[in-house]
């Protein structure tokens, strides 16, 4: 065994299949990738294809079967004020919530990595903890906390002798949702950043120290560049997450049915079109349009992120 380990590199070094840390040029790879791809085809590719197919048809009234309508559903979606209202809402959410959440995560990661913190390991695990809380439970919990039935919002109002704190009112609903999402995902993003920081070789810090760089200088010159890839990935995931916003508003809807409409977010719109309105073709179109916009934005972020230094 040991002998062959030693010998092998010699005989295979020049082999055409070697690349990076070593790969085999071999169709046997399909053996391993095949099963994944088969399930992937069923659960990802087939639904996408089916959705595109659906989006090109329209049910005729009174169950007259469906007819091919070309791009009519798309034109309708793009002129649908409900769709744009929902889109605008998640757009605002994206522009405000994502930077706040990522900035908090970044600061937490830098603080934990800085070695200036007491009990850093404790902070790391506790801040990450909300990620292990199911989104549904998080929303139920915060929903009760927000409520004026029992919960902390009511307690605070009693304490201050006002009724000013109304997290579930139409003015505050979006920030309230943003708070839940932030609470859930700061820890997760913090961990992604923290993991990236751990991969910075110690020599870089030593070199920076020799050059007389202080804390802020080290963060700017060493840590932030090392975090670039992680920040791009976290941003893309957060964008996708914002555009998919569903669980939070859909569960809070029972608590504030008059504030959260059936088309509060594009995803809720698609869901309600299907399951309350039986408009499957139009629902599929809304889903595709949203997926397309998300993919484009994620792609642009990726391009910019890999080109620009932070």
């Amino acid at each position: 065994m040991t002998e062959s380990v030693v010998q092998q590199p010699v005989t295979r070094t020049g082999a055409p299949g070697r690349r990076r840390r070593g790969t085999f040029r071999d169709s046997k790879g399909w053996l391993f990738v095949g099963p994944f791809l088969a399930v992937f085809a069923v659960t990802f590719l087939a639904p996408i294809g089916y959705a595109i197919y659906l989006s090109l048809y329209r049910d005729q009234a009174f169950f007259g079967g469906s007819v091919f309508v070309g791009l009519d559903n798309y034109t309708e979606t793009l002129q649908d004020p409900k769709f744009w209202e929902a889109f605008g809402r998640v757009g605002v959410f994206l522009v405000v919530q994502v930077p706040v959440m990522l900035a908090l995560a970044l600061l937490a990661a830098l603080a934990i990595d800085s070695a200036r913190l007491h009990a850093a390991g404790f902070f790391r695990i506790v801040i990450f903890l909300p990620y292990a809380v199911p989104g549904v439970v998080a929303v139920l919990m915060w929903g009760y906390i927000y409520g004026d039935n029992f919960g902390l919002a009511a307690n605070l109002n009693d304490l201050l002798g006002t009724t000013a704190i109304q997290p579930l009112s139409s003015t505050w609903m979006l920030p309230s949702i943003a708070n839940i999402v932030t609470w859930e995902f700061v820890g997760y993003n913090m961990l992604i950043f923290y993991s990236a920081l751990r991969t910075v070789p110690g020599e870089l810090y030593e070199a920076a120290a020799i050059d007389g760089a202080g804390t802020w200088r080290t963060i700017r010159a060493v840590k932030l560049p090392a975090l670039r890839g992680a920040i791009v990935i976290a941003t893309i995931f957060s964008i996708i997450g914002s555009f998919q916003l569903f669980n939070e508003p859909n569960i809070l809807r029972t608590l504030a049915p008059n504030v959260i409409t059936t088309y509060y977010t594009p995803n809720m719109y698609a869901y309600n079109l299907s399951f309350a309105g039986q408009q499957f073709n139009y629902s599929a179109t809304v889903a595709i349009v949203m997926g397309f916009i998300t993919a484009i934005i994620a792609y642009v972020v990726q391009l910019r992120g890999s080109r620009e230094a932070l």
Partner: protein, 304 residues
């Protein structure tokens, strides 16, 4: 062995004055920074503390006593008993369903992602680039955009309202594949695989006897994240299932919560709260116990 340990130590002491070395690299602990972080810690913990305290209250106490302190009576164990027995013990049924979906779904997803990540990292087969392109494109498509078409497709196949409607979509984890691919690239030396080949082991056997062990930390990470996403799955079961006895915990709990509103409202806040607590506990324990594994696995994944 002793030389490899000693060399870095020598190198670091030659770095110059002890003072410049220690101040930026081993800085003093800062009470100010710790204080700021404690504020954030409180924000993180308040809802969880609230949940824990609320789980000890009767429904009356929930409505009449302050949220961040105990109520008049201590009903924690009664609440747990009531949660587990309400409606002929449907909660236990939901728990069982969740465990089934997690074991088969997340377990299968991890197995598929591990094999595929290993295959992509260690074999350069025709069509490999196409696989990457398709995966990258698919990851950008929002998962929920697929939900409605998947529902319609499964509905045509007669799969809705069966456990397969939840398990099959859970089997694919593009994030897990990405993680395993990155991990396998570095963790499995090709020389070892070549050695196994020379010894006459087939590809599958090599994977199970040689590669799997080296991939273990990555596998634990992938498994843990697959478990979380399956355990937390809400949207998919919400649309796929209409029979309450197939529900996972997440959908069941929201159904209980919805009882509080509408016609014939029958609020069971205390059960929703205690049920929520019971839903969180297993995952929190898993994360705490497996900390060492998933944190090292994540570090490897973020190298890219």
């Amino acid at each position: 062995m002793s030389t490899t340990i000693r060399t870095p130590r020598v190198a670091s002491t030659t770095l110059g004055a002890e003072k410049t070395r220690t101040s930026p690299l081993r800085p003093k602990r800062s009470p100010l920074l710790t204080g700021v972080m404690v504020l954030y810690l409180i924000y993180t913990l308040v809802p969880l503390v609230w949940l824990l305290l609320s789980a000890t209250k009767t429904q009356d106490d929930l409505l009449s006593t302050p949220g961040l302190w105990f109520g008049k009576s201590f009903a924690f164990f009664t609440n747990i008993k009531d949660t587990l027995t309400y409606n002929d013990g449907i909660f236990l049924r939901w728990l069982g369903n969740t465990v089934l979906y997690v074991v088969v779904g997340a377990g299968g997803a991890t197995l598929l992602a591990t094999a595929a990540g290993y295959g992509l990292a260690k074999y350069k087969f025709a069509g490999r680039r196409a696989v990457f392109a398709i995966l990258l494109g698919a990851v950008a498509v929002p998962g929920t955009a697929l939900a409605v078409p998947t529902f319609l497709m499964f509905s045509n196949l007669g799969l809705t309202n069966t456990v397969w409607a939840i398990i099959i979509p859970s089997l694919v984890s593009p994030f897990g594949l990405y993680l395993m691919w990155v991990y396998a690239t570095d963790a499995v030396p090709v020389e070892l695989l070549e050695a196994a080949r020379i010894d006459g082991a087939g590809e599958i056997r090599t994977f199970f006897t040689v590669a799997l062990r080296l991939l273990a930390p990555g596998i634990v990470t992938t498994l843990l994240f697959a478990v979380v996403s399956t355990w937390n799955n809400y949207f998919l079961p919400l649309i796929m299932l209409s029979k309450p006895n197939l529900y996972p915990l997440t959908v069941g709990l929201t159904q209980w919560s919805n009882q509080a509103t509408g016609v014939g409202a029958r609020p069971i806040y205390n059960l929703v709260i205690t049920g929520s607590l019971l839903t969180i506990v297993p995952l929190v324990i898993a994360f705490l116990l497996l900390q060492r594994f998933w944190q090292s696995g994540l570090s490897a994944g973020s190298v890219k």
